[in-house]
Amino acid sequence: MCILRRILRWLQLPHKTALRCGSALLAIALFALPYPALAVTAAASITLSKQAWAFNPTDSTQQYLPSSASVVTGTMITNSTGSGSIALLAPANITGAGGGLLKISYFSMTCSGPSHAGETMVATKAQLVASSSVTCATYAGGFDSTTLSGGQVHFNMMIFLDDRTLDDDTFPATNFTVVASAT
């Protein structure tokens, strides 16, 4: 007998039968529904206001030659038992047109912004590492950027260049990757 018919008959049947049918429907509902009240879908999606940094040092005196900041905004949602992070993945050391070497370790990064519970800005002039990633910010379990003022994460990312021992050369534009992840 179809469930719909049972439902229609539910109000007419004796208490015991109604209980059985109702229990069956409850069980099926628990099994079939995507548990909206029990689980959070992790999300990580960011946008940078600036995606190109250019450094043109004219002397060899600055350990932290600054770039203008790029504003990082986006969504970060972690499960109650999950975590999240935003990190900068660097390439290998860069060779200039004249053969000079630009070491990735000449770069450093600072991420800074307003303080939010569950969000930790990790990097303060943190030295980058060739072919590796350096964490900019981390997010605790249960973090939900939609609850923040503005509804999203919002902070500055700055890159610095140490020009003190940098070879005088023209180095090709090279891609770095900002990786946002959440579980």
Partner: protein
Amino acid sequence: MKTRISFPLIGAFVVLSFALNAVPALAVVQNTTITVSVTKQASAALTLSGSAFTWAHVQADTDHFLASDGGNITVTGTLITSFGSGAGSIAIVSPVNITGAGGGTLPIGDLSITCAGTVVTGQTFATAQTALGPSATTTCATYAANYNTALNFTLGMFLDDRTLPADVYPATNFTVAATAT
């Protein structure tokens, strides 16, 4: 046909549903590419601790290399040459011979310079007490490609008074020129 669903079966469904819910979620990852470019250009910038060499009381005709009254001045600054093919130099650009108030002539060749300092790879000083030339450029130091060390050395100027006519010679500008490629 009568369908019966027992409470143990309901419990099994509930347990299964929670078990499925407990499966670890896959990480959500988003990559955003940024581009970094660096150009470090050849440059030169000098600072001198003083800007005048004077000989106010020359009273003999015996000095081939008479030091100036105030002694050496110190040259500091930055000189950066290109990697691989760059070069640099610091030199003195002299004026024409100088005529004294009484008509005497101070040949620029009576003046000489010495640049000296600690040994730095890529930096080479000209021979000590190198004579200047009128309207000429006289090298003080040269720099190899990929030079990138802060400058710090002394520049001394000397006067050969052996044949210099006794006279008062006006203050005259010389130029210290730094170049880098």
